[in-house]
Assembly symmetry: C2
């Protein structure tokens, strides 16, 4: 471990390809990026750590376990231990490709919320070939949202865009069903009013579904409630998987097709690489008092490597402090009080 | 016009390629399918009708006009006249590729709602290669929905699946952020309870975003609120457009790529044809007392032809009567009263 620099702690048992892909990705992060990494997990399940330090624990949260109950009962699980390490200043950030709800719950319950933040949100990068990815939040932490929460999502997303892609004045869009401020649900119309009144955000107004993947929108950050965000992200993932499968089937239909595919696949490779979620670095849980990166369940070693890079960057560039300044610094007291009265996020059962 | 059979009335000025594509598509419906068709529009704007009958009117609703105001003020517009022709029994169904909100408003205000239906919904087919398309509703008529509305959307979608694809017992899914009944917004959880209690619907439970295009779900009909439905449909459309553009660019990168593309494109043609919205026949406005098909704004003559076929089929197979039986027949009186107390749909400004 590099002297003086805190490690990124990685849940060795998180994800469908754990521990092998996780250990391999962690090893690559050390070797290729020089980022100090520590694994956490039950030694007998992790096995060979490829020379990396392992912080032992005795429990694991399964992918399909109820998140709230898992975190309440499994106090010596890799997820809880990872979140505690960040809280206690022994790690700079945590990474898991495991149970998303349980990762959120561990981070929220162990690290707590940033002062002034009503609810944490999951921020997911959507590939935007030739440019930095577009950030969508909330991607599923909060099935129900208030207008103030959407405003805070905009602030938190802008902070991540700055930290992660160097976009110091990112353009923010509000996901709706038409560009005019009069279009959308009551939630969206109220949020539009809050966002339009901010001098500290470059608010573009409403954007539409077609502006998420492709499209002409200049939005670097797109805010929406966690229900819509989760549905639309999964729809795009499903469509990409379906289409790439159908195209590859046609490419392998017969010998003539295979020969032609041999010519075209290298020309499609840059597009495929840009769309590959393994390269974008996973989702970031924003609003908790620590850096928590959630990689997708089928993460490869490349995905873990990308997630560790994002986690280390976010910690180095003080993501948490920046969010604290943006959100707590100038939040209208009344709005904030309203938001906080709603109580903590009902994470269990998501 | 075939003797005794009511024509489909087509808005000659609706859509980006009107009137040429509309007239051409209408002509093809007569010639290729034997469906009687009448155009409606201002004669001086329609020009050559290719020998089709034209019902003259004096006004046109522009694509970007405010729907509510347009329908209130332009009483001699092609949209209003088309809806009146269906109401008055002079036409079997109407088709427009024009302003979606104005088409909805014209149909709702002139035809009225089917007895018992709380709100009309837009039902859009999503291609499902090798099978009948999956029907998604609401695709944008109602930005805010109640649980009873989602139940009625399921009933109306099931009626359309039967009429349009011969699926007499279609499987219905509820769009949410996880398969368990405990997942989702309060709206979705309540709707889940209503749907699960029905013996007249084959309810599969929750489905997710990834089950819309591709995916393993058996759902023939997917219900959601009009905000989520609109966002996710536009996201899928945008992604398809972006991906096909990017693939075609790679295919045309150089001479070698073009030659290989010449081999592969014919093998991709069946997939492209199945995904082409021009072949699926447009969206159907369900819940009004008449058949109204809304084709997309960039409709080609093929799209208009498909929309006319769907409109004629729905009228022949008594879609409106079937919805009336399903919805009004056994609706819980209390729920219905609750739904109706919400008043008419605020169509203006959508």
């Amino acid at each position: 471990m590099a002297e003086g620099r805190l490690p990124v702690v990685v849940d060795a048992l998180g994800g469908d390809h754990a521990p092998a892909a996780v250990v391999a990705g962690a090893r690559r992060a050390v070797d290729e990026l020089g980022i100090p990494v520590v694994l956490v997990g039950p030694p007998e399940l992790v096995g060979d750590t490829a020379g990396l330090e392992l912080w032992p624990c005795s429990e694991v949260v399964a992918m399909d376990e109820d998140p709230g109950r898992a975190i309440r009962t499994k106090k010596d699980s890799s997820l809880v231990r990872a979140a505690e390490a960040v809280r206690d200043g022994r790690a700079a950030a945590m990474v898991s490709a495991g149970n998303t709800g349980a990762t959120m719950a561990a981070a929220l319950l162990r690290m707590g919320r940033i002062r002034g933040v009503a609810r944490p949100a999951i921020c997911t990068p959507i590939p935007r070939p030739g440019q930095a990815p577009r950030l969508l939040l909330d991607a599923g932490a909060n099935a129900e949202c208030s207008p103030v929460m959407l405003l805070q999502f905009a602030q938190m997303g802008a902070a991540l865009a700055a930290v992660r892609y160097g976009l110091e004045d990112p353009a923010v869009g509000l996901l709706s069903i038409g560009e005019e401020p009069s279009k959308g649900s009551p939630l969206v119309k109220e949020a539009h009013g809050l966002l339009a009144g901010r001098s500290d955000l470059r608010f573009l107004g409403n954007v539409e579904g077609r502006d998420l993947l492709g499209g002409q929108s200049a939005a670097d950050v797109v805010v929406t409630d966690g229900f819509t965000g989760n549905v639309v992200l999964k729809a795009l993932e499903g469509a990409l998987r379906f289409l790439s499968g159908a195209v590859l089937e046609a490419f392998g239909a017969d010998e003539e097709a295979k020969a032609a595919a041999g010519v075209l696949l290298p020309r499609l490779a840059p597009l495929v690489a840009e769309l590959d979620p393994d390269n974008t670095g996973g989702a970031v849980l924003l609003g908790v008092r620590g850096v928590c990166v959630i990689s997708h369940g089928s993460s490869s070693d490349q995905a873990i490597l990308s997630a560790i890079r994002v986690a280390a960057d976010a910690a180095d560039r003080q993501l948490v402090q920046r969010i604290g300044q943006l959100v707590a610094g100038d939040q209208g007291a009344e709005e904030l009080a309203d938001a906080l009265r709603e109580g903590p996020a009902p994470l269990a059962g998501r």
